[in-house]
């Protein structure tokens, strides 16, 4: 029978299907951060259970960590306790932790690929919805709740329902200055934030294959914003090249064995998907969200819609509510929207190529008056690389702040946040009400668009630069 990549990974990880219970799926890799794990460790302790495979776990601290003055103790006592609890839990259970002072520290979905911890064909979980990122390697990677974190620690498995399969094919070549971020925002604009519910999405087509590994990570990262359980891209030479030589990648004869296995993973020709969505890359302009849901998105050359543009009553109401929260008038040109703050970073766009393009756009320009621009590398490794390439200096010379790594203003847990009424151009993944600070207004964009907005003080069509 012809199988999709998802079906191949599912079949090879099925432990058993006991009568009256959900199928039990084996978990190869378990990623952790400080926010969604403490209650799971406590649950294990209370039940007197042990972690089955400590070697399957890689942990970091990212959500609550300050991005400046890292040498000082964390000011917020509750955040400090969460960080200390993570360190204590990892020590007690002998887990591999990249703590706040570790040169490998960074955002979980940035550091895991950097160390080659996730490989094609693996089932990977994390108490974090953006675990979908690792689908870029052809791994089935998805977010779970804290009870499931505890479940995986105790059993190395999870009861799971099989998902439906969706193929999102992006044909043709992406225009210059459009990026993986613009593809995924366009996909979400098309299918909606619930469009992928119950599905695992496989991204394919020329424009997807053409992406770098970093771009594929950006693409899969936001599969969850389309409601999907996971996103996948088939592994190919780029994937193998990226993994080779990294710390947790196989080596020697094991590399050959692994490679032979990985090459069996891509979906069979003519494998059937439950749903197929096709986009044409040539049509994908740089995207800007105008509302409070990632599906409320428009091309930079477009305008903010009017409620009457929506036939669906729910979407019409959502538009009214979003325009009110965002303080935007219908028909405002996207390029007329001003910004006060620019955030470059996050597990979506905190990788080296994101800083390269931002520096390229920023070079010989200054941050506009009244705009604060913050660059937060996804990891110390990204930071170090950017500094070696002189990208930090280009940004600093233009007036950007150059910070230490962390989730930072993507979810604003660490004190980096918008004040009420502030408007951001953000390379992160969610524009929900209050996401970046109560009353803050978020516009999601690519790194190139963010950098251009920092210089202009409003959105600009970077294709015209």
């Amino acid at each position: 029978m012809k199988k999709t990549m998802y079906e191949k990974i599912w079949d090879s990880h099925l432990v058993c299907e006991a009568a009256g219970q959900a199928p039990l799926v084996y978990v190869d890799r378990h990623l952790m951060h400080e926010v969604t794990s403490p209650q799971a460790f406590e649950g294990l302790r209370n039940a007197n259970r042990k972690i089955r495979n400590p070697h399957s776990i890689l942990a970091t601290m990212d959500h609550c960590v300050p991005t400046k003055d890292r040498d000082l103790p964390i000011a917020d006592p509750i955040a400090r306790k969460q960080i200390e609890t993570m360190a204590e839990n990892c020590r007690e259970n002998n887990l591999n932790l990249y703590d706040i002072k570790n040169p490998n520290n960074g955002v979980i979905h940035i550091v895991v690929p950097e160390h080659g911890f996730v490989h094609p064909g693996m089932v990977t979980v994390c108490g974090d919805s953006h675990t979908a990122t690792h689908g870029a390697f052809g791994a089935l990677a998805f977010g779970i709740g804290t009870s499931e974190v505890e479940h995986v620690m105790a059993t190395q498995t999870l009861p799971q329902m099989k998902s439906k399969t969706m193929l999102v094919r992006v044909d043709g070549k992406l225009p210059k200055y459009s990026s993986a971020k613009d593809i995924i925002l366009a996909v979400i604009g098309k299918i909606g934030t619930a469009g992928g519910t119950g599905y695992v999405i496989e991204f394919a087509g020329e424009a997807v294959i053409d992406l770098t590994m970093e771009g594929r990570m950006t693409l899969c990262n936001m599969a969850i914003e389309g409601g999907a359980r996971a996103g996948l891209v088939m592994p190919d030479e780029k994937t193998y090249e990226y993994l080779k030589g990294r710390e947790f990648a196989p080596s020697g004869s094991e590399w050959d064995t692994a490679l032979a296995y990985w090459k069996t993973l891509p979906s069979d020709d003519d494998a059937e998907f439950d749903t197929v969505v096709i986009l044409t890359a040539d049509d994908i302009a740089p995207q800007v969200t105008w509302g409070t849901s990632p599906e409320q998105v428009a091309p930079v050359s477009g305008a903010v819609p009017s409620p009457e543009d929506f036939n669906d009553e729910g979407k019409r109401q959502a538009c009214i509510s979003a325009l009110n929260y965002m303080d935007l008038k219908p028909k405002t040109k996207i390029t007329d929207i001003p910004v006060n703050l620019v955030f470059l970073g996050s597990c979506t766009n905190g990788r080296i190529e994101d800083f390269r393009i931002a520096a390229e756009i920023t070079k010989n320009h200054k941050v506009a008056d009244g705009v604060t621009a913050i660059a937060v590398p996804g990891s110390y490794k990204v930071k170090e690389q950017a500094e070696q390439e002189g990208l930090d200096q280009i940004l600093i010379d233009a007036g950007w702040e150059w910070r230490d790594p962390g989730c930072s203003m993507c979810l604003a847990m660490n004190g980096d946040e918008l004040t009420p009424g502030q408007r951001s151009a953000s390379t992160s993944n969610r524009n929900f009400e209050g996401r970046q600070g109560k009353g803050g207004r978020t516009h999601l964009v690519s790194p190139a668009m963010a950098a251009a907005a920092a210089t202009a003080g409003h959105f600009v069509d970077i294709r015209n630069l």
Binding site: V35, E42, Q82, G145, T146, A154, T197, G227, F432, R435
Partner: protein, 203 residues
């Protein structure tokens, strides 16, 4: 986990779509290392004014909805992050049942781990329930998990779908991990094969 019992309870209506986990429990409350005490922060940014007083315009602050155990709400409820703090806050506030036309995947799974029954209704059923609540705020719905039915005050009765094992676990308040550990031989067996097939994952 407490077993889920059939009940007749007040149903509160939040007639909005795409209610995300950042609204259910804003991020500033995710720093705690405990599972309990999140109910007071449920829907914080909608529920309270800047000075900490109740926002009278927010649905759950209506007197008629106090002590509601059933939350009726719009499409794609619980979208966004995987934070289990969202169902913890919902359960801690006092809800044990949600009725919506659709849920985000991770949120839906998380509900069952916390004794919350997320009922999937059709758009028509949801509209009908919302209409009844709107015309009589504070009215009660009857939930029967064994029969998988919801009965409204006007006698409208509809059945809902639910995976049999999820139903069983909720009804008996079963510990998922305990159930999985009953399959420990199967897991051991799988792992032996796994070591043989994928040795690079074990070095």
């Amino acid at each position: 986990m407490e077993p889920y019992n059939n009940h007749t309870s007040i149903a509160a209506l939040i007639n909005r779509s795409n209610v995300d986990t950042d609204q259910i429990i804003p991020k500033q409350f995710l720093k705690k290392v405990e599972r309990s005490g999140f109910g007071i922060h449920l829907f914080h940014d909608w529920r309270f004014n800047d000075d900490g007083s109740d926002n009278p315009d927010f649905e759950l602050n209506k007197p008629a909805f106090q002590s509601a155990k059933i939350l009726v709400t719009g499409d794609n409820f619980g979208c966004g992050s995987s934070r289990e703090h969202a169902p913890w806050a919902i359960a801690d506030y006092g809800f044990n049942t949600i009725i919506s036309s659709s849920y985000a995947d991770i949120f839906y799974n998380n509900c069952f781990k916390n004794g919350i029954l997320p009922i999937r209704a059709t758009q028509e059923q949801l509209q009908l329930i919302a209409n009844e609540i709107n015309s009589h705020e504070g009215c009660s719905l009857t939930i029967n998990l064994e029969e998988q039915t919801v009965v409204t005050p006007l006698g409208n009765n509809f059945a809902f779908e639910l995976d049999p094992f999820r139903k069983e676990n909720l009804l008996h308040g079963l510990d998922d991990i305990g159930l999985t550990l009953e399959q420990i031989d199967k897991i051991d067996e799988y792992e032996q094969k796994h070591r043989r097939l994928y040795p690079w994952l074990w070095t």
